[in-house]
Symmetry: C2
Subunit: 310 residues, 2 copies
């Protein structure tokens, strides 16, 4: 292993898994001798801030580009280039640890690439500590279990696997937390939307997906009060339509996910709204529809949209 510096980061519009995975990867790899610094590609959301604060972890440094500082990077929690740093094609990717579909990714040379169909990237990182016999500190356990709670919505999401649940239980012990109590507190911290602008609401956790020749954007917010978000429909619609125009999107879907009920209400705009209806077999009325039992963008929303549009 060369001692040249490596930056590690997750996707744009970082969520708790992306931020915690970068911090945890850096901890593990630096203990294995790598010269690595965790960085982030955007602002920390309130759920992530709650977790970092609870476990007294510093947030990673914010960067806009990476090729100005390093030649080598590692990616966690994403692989699609359009979700990564803008100059990703100017650096060498030495490793990817992820749990998403693989697409829009390529390298000139072989690398370490590990994707597993589990609910959370830190579930894979947890396994890597064990494989390498590296001890897990209370702080790192706290970050890993926070990411699992976040990605699985406290085990409610269909993306959640037995491996995630087992890892979370084991990590909760090391982190000395009560899973349900800490988990609900953390998730609720992420639902405070009243101080957010409409623009923030549609970009806190938003990702773009090329489907066939079209580009689709799907944003998601968690809440315990869907009506509160819907009351701001007019200003949110304005921001969504501006985004559709500037990015030439086929369709924009905002999923407002009720973390207590385990359902999502969507707001959707663009030429592709009929395809959204087809994808979920629902009628979209005044740009809104309730998707019963839908909480996972990755496992439920994207595959259905890809089938209808791509």
């Amino acid at each position: 292993m060369s001692n040249e510096k490596v930056l590690v980061f997750g996707h744009k519009n970082p969520d708790t898994d992306t931020i915690c995975s970068a911090l945890v990867y850096a901890d593990l790899k630096s203990k294995l001798g790598m010269n690595v610094e965790p960085v982030r590609l955007g602002e920390i959301n309130e759920e992530t801030a709650f977790a970092l604060n609870f476990f007294q972890a510093e947030k990673p440094r914010l960067v806009e580009n990476v090729s100005n500082e390093v030649e080598q990077v590692a990616l966690v929690d994403h692989n699609e280039f359009q979700q990564s740093v803008s100059d990703i094609e100017s650096v060498k990717i030495i490793e990817v640890i992820d749990h998403h579909r693989i697409a829009n990714f390529q390298t000139k040379e072989p690398l370490n690439f590990r994707v597993e169909p589990v609910g959370c990237t830190t579930t894979i990182l947890h396994k890597m500590y064990r494989e390498n016999n590296v001890e897990i500190t209370k702080q790192m356990a706290g970050l890993m279990v926070s990411a699992i709670i976040s990605d699985s919505l406290l085990f409610k999401s269909p993306t959640c696997t037995d491996e995630d649940v087992e890892a979370a239980k084991s990590l909760a012990e090391i982190a000395e937390i009560n899973l349900d109590e800490y988990g609900l507190d953390m998730l609720k911290a992420g639902t405070k939307l009243e101080n957010r602008s409409a623009k923030q609401i549609i970009s806190i956790d938003s990702k773009e997906f090329p489907m066939g020749e079209k580009l689709v954007e799907v944003a998601q917010v968690n809440t315990v009060d869907v009506a509160e978000v819907l009351a701001r429909k007019e200003e949110i619609a304005e921001e969504i339509n501006a985004t559709i125009e500037s990015k030439n999107l086929e369709v924009f879907v905002l999923a407002i996910t009720d973390i207590l009920e385990g359902d999502s209400t969507i707001l959707t705009y663009g030429n592709g709204v009929a395809k959204v209806e087809e994808a979920f077999d629902v009628a979209v009325t005044e740009n809104t529809a309730l998707l019963k039992g839908v909480v996972s963008r990755k496992k439920q929303i994207i595959p259905a949209l890809t089938k209808a549009i791509g």
Copy 2:
């Protein structure tokens, strides 16, 4: 793990690593409870036939399509769709074990995807036996070490890592072979080109690579007598030019690799020959050039061509 049948296979124009990896993956995974059958996408070459015969292993069944028999597949030793079965996009890929660059690969859903920058796929499979505490039989050890010898040209290739060498030594003990003696016998078995047609010579081990908007094909043959191959230049050129025309290739490179010297002589045709000169900083005279110290398509030829063309 569902008990639905899975087919596992390596790339088109199978080499020893691709065939042995499919057999070994099926052995390991069936011991772990998967309903899996190894298959192949093309004829076995003479080097591979030598290894299978030596270790009394049956060659995998030949298939042209897979979606007519199964819904799920696993890929070994490749990930790029153009190197895979023609109907790869009609089936679900549940796992990939590979050691090549990643490109032209995508899925709708997350999967198990493990790529490591080692010299041979069976080096990764060897690790997976250990991780899963599955005993390695003499036959499987023989197939794995044969693949490592093949891909590393008996450890001469720059793709060969310490991990490959260690795995080969450990596997040679289980397989009860002398590495150098068996290795040279096996490699020499693959160099018998006198009974091969020119068409076979350029397709025994040939792969296509999209580079930018262009398509490039690079074939490789091993020999202990380069002059013997060059004596047939005229008929080989005819086949190469026919291939260029039918596939609309930018350039075709045939690397004739001297396994004793560790050099390659290339024969190259097409519009992109000037780019080949640029890639390797050599003069191509009458469509031929000597590439000193070049034995690896993956590590030496493809990156240089991609830089010049892509």
